[in-house]
Amino acid sequence: MPENLLEVRNLTITPAGAEVPVLDDVSLSLAPGERVGLIGESGSGKSLTALSVMGLLPEELHAQGTVSLQGHGGNLLEANEKTLAGLRSDIVSMVFQEPMSALNPLMRIGDQIAEVLRIHGRVPRAQIPGRVRELLAEVHMPDPDSARFAYPHQMSGGQRQRVMLAIALANSPRLLICDEPTTALDVTVQRRMLDLIAERVAAVEAGLLFITHDLAVVAGVCDRVIVMYRGRIVETGTVTEIFTAPRHEYTRGLLASSDLEATDDRGRLFTLKTALDYAGPRVPTRDSSTDANRATDANRAADGQGGAASATGSAPLIEVSDVTRVFKGRGLFGRRRSDVTALGSIDFSVAAGERLGIVGESGSGKSTLLNILSGLDRPTTGHVRVGDIRVEAASSTALRALRENLQIVFQDPFASLDPRMRVADIIAEPLVAAGVDKDERSARVEEMIAAVDLDAQSLRRYPHQFSGGQRQRISIARALVTRPQILVADEPVSALDVSVRAQVLNLLADLLEDYALTLLFVSHDLGVVKHLCSQVIVMKDGQIVESGATEDIYANPQEGYTRRLIAATPSLADALAATG
């Protein structure tokens, strides 16, 4: 048996002062050229494992065990900085999650790639510019000649991640570590990025350690999967083994909650807890029974609201007609810049009780549309009517009435809660604004915290004491505490782990029924929208390219863009079908 490229033995990391290790007896190995996926939710120790291999562990963490790399004798954990510096980039290199913060904002990207080449001195100086161009061409950067002179902020997220990949591969390392490289990217960009990583790793014959929380992502890229849970490795196996016959309870739960196609008897997604009933991913054979189920489900939801809708008359609850929003370009010192059209003639309407999904990549104008609907921004032209309020010309009193009726759940649960406020005050804030008296406030706050499945003790704590999923529950509680008719959710699950995503989506589905809400759900993830929404509109560059019933759009997309979006959405079934 040939020597392994990477060999981690009994790696244990215990933070000073803590009794329980954050990484407990982790052993794994990687053969040369092998592609391994490391899967787990945030906090499971995936990133710490990767950082130990890079020798980049934070100083206050002390690791026990051995980490050895082919081409370097001895334990990497005991190697000094100089040895490690020689290994990095030459033998092992890393692509980080957030390309904007991993690149130096003040350096041209060509210089940043050249820096890596220069430090390691394998390429003669004179040839560096040529090599930089070559690397950029290899990661399929459009127009590599001029891209060299761009700054990171001038590039899109996907392009920045390509640059990161070029830097990581600059010195042809034997092992590439990717830490959630596509989590910050849009679905379509993610697909291309994954293909690119697979292509480049194959081209330079490097090993790959791919870290992610999303099973669907890993399937197309890796041969073997390692599942981590709470600092331990719970299961290892080939992609097919893990997907079809998961042995460990957690793996099964993760698999079940990743699958947005499968639902339990109540029409809810599987979570880690209900995973026992999960039958495994369905290979996409136009399975009409599930579709029919969901259709009736959606119909049932619509029926439930039918009475309410007819009571208020047949006019839709929200009507958006011919809305445009143009941002005036204003450069430094009043220099004219070209105007940016964020929205161009948007038309749609939402009936009471309907669930509308708004899908598009970042920059498609989804957020601008939401801002206009909630009265945080005004359209340049066009009309918006919510209930009987004309939003575009609303007085501040009317806007206040609108906002009592329309509440938003924001994308980032870490940024949308004031870190200096207690949870009780956060949830009560809309009530304070509405002038509800103190006793009723606390009664309603307690009711809401129970409705989102958090216990009453949470009310006295601060947001930083909660995890992402719990924070998103708090955010939902705040949105619903005023009993709005309309709930606007702005990518509420895209910052969450897959295993938590299902729980939050189920909670949303429950609350939609309990509170008879009309939902506007913005997402770049078609899978999520498909599960939750009966109607969908697809946006691109500020225009609606396609709209209609979710089932129709999925079954029969008319536009090329929609087809691309659907194809790019990672799903377990497709991934499994691809691996065979």
């Binding site: 933070p15 002062g17 803590a18 009794e19 329980v20 290790p21 954050v22 407990d24 939710e41 945030s42 906090g43 934070p58 206050e60 849970y229 709470r230 331990r232 719970v234 460990h248 309870e249 957690y250 739960g253 880690l272 807890k273 945080l376 206040r400 906002r403 009592e404 924001f410 994308q411 980032d412 870490f414 940024a415 949308s416 004031d418 200096r420 406020m421 005050d425 804030e429 809309p430 304070v432 604004a433 499945d453 216990d455 949470s458 704590r461 930083h464 004491q465 909660f466 995890s467 992402g468 999923g469 719990q470 955010s475 705040r478 949105a479 005023t482 969450l496 782990d497 938590v500 729980q503």
Partner: protein
């Protein structure tokens, strides 16, 4: 289902899954953030000790001093340190230790009043300015406020104090007010940048979406979130005020005789600098210690309130 919120910045999520491997590890691992919250940095400790020392001197002086401040001992003039006069005596035979203790009072009073003026005026100016800056129609108001602020910033505290001393009579009061006014722009700038940051945050968007009015947002969200920055600014401004008061008294524009002040002690010791340098040493030493103490405290607080450690638990 009932979930316990997990520890600070807990990576765990709403998972109450009973996995045999995991049940053993029930308590949360201590995280980097939690420990750094508890760990006091050394500069903060040293700074706090020096500040407590100065504060102690001033407090004790109300209850007890070795001698009265104007008690003179004609026999023991210009003495070096001795058991009777640990820090020595000045040219009238007054006890230097007594004067140092009394001087701490003036120093602290000037600091508190000057920083109080600057904080109470500067911080609201900054917050209001930032709020206007965020309104499409209010940008010019922000511009006017901030340019006025810049003009004030261009005047050194000393110049203001000279003007004040010329208009009113020289004294501790006008000096404090002058130093305080000169420190306003600093607070306004810090408060404005902090407020802009907070107003741009998602939780303020959420507050606006739930109908909070701007004054309420300023009180409920902005103030608590910029408090850290303002406290840091206050401790640095305190150090500057201490120094400014000593300088003004040295020039005869601040505290007037016969009130004991470190600046005046320095000035009076000038003519004996070649023969009795220790007369200048003691007030100089305590001015230096006070300034150092407040600066170190400010540095320590800055680390403590670092927005990067605060932004998100991760």
């Amino acid at each position: 289902m009932s979930e316990m919120p997990t520890g600070a910045n807990s990576p765990r999520d709403d998972v109450a899954l009973d996995v045999s491997a995991a049940t053993a590890s029930a308590p949360e691992p201590a995280t980097g953030r939690r420990r750094s919250r508890l760990r006091l940095n050394s500069s903060m400790i040293i700074g706090a000790c020096l500040v407590v020392l100065i504060l102690g001197l001033a407090l004790v002086s109300f209850v007890w001093t070795p001698y009265g401040p104007s008690e003179i001992d004609p026999v023991a003039r210009l003495r070096a340190g001795s058991p009777a006069h640990p820090f020595g005596t000045d040219r009238f035979g007054r006890d230097t230790l007594t004067w140092v203790m009394y001087g701490a009072r003036i120093t602290l009073m000037v600091g508190v009043v000057a920083v109080g003026i600057a904080l109470l005026i500067g911080t609201p100016i900054g917050i209001v300015s930032a709020i206007f800056a965020k309104q499409p129609w209010g940008m010019w108001i922000d511009a006017v406020i901030m340019r006025a602020n810049d003009i004030l910033l261009a005047f050194p505290a000393l110049l203001l104090a000279i003007i004040f001393a010329a208009v009113y009579s020289p004294g501790t009061g006008p000096a404090m007010v002058a130093v305080g006014i000169a420190a306003i722009p600093g607070f306004a700038r810090v408060a404005r940048s902090g407020t802009l940051q907070v107003l741009g945050s998602e939780y303020v968007r959420a507050a606006r979406a739930s109908n909070r009015r701007i004054p309420a947002i300023a009180v409920v969200h902005v103030l608590p979130n910029i408090a850290g920055m303002v406290i840091v600014q206050a401790s640095v401004a305190f150090a500057i005020s201490v120094l400014a008061e000593a300088g003004l008294s040295f020039l005869g524009l601040g505290t007037q005789a016969p009130v004991p002040s470190w600046g005046r002690m320095l000035q009076e010791s000038q003519q004996f600098l070649s023969t009795h340098p220790e007369l200048a040493l003691w007030p100089g030493l305590f001015i230096a210690l006070a300034v150092l103490g407040f600066n170190l405290l400010g540095d320590g607080l800055r680390d403590r309130f670092d927005p990067k450690m605060d932004a998100r638990g991760a």
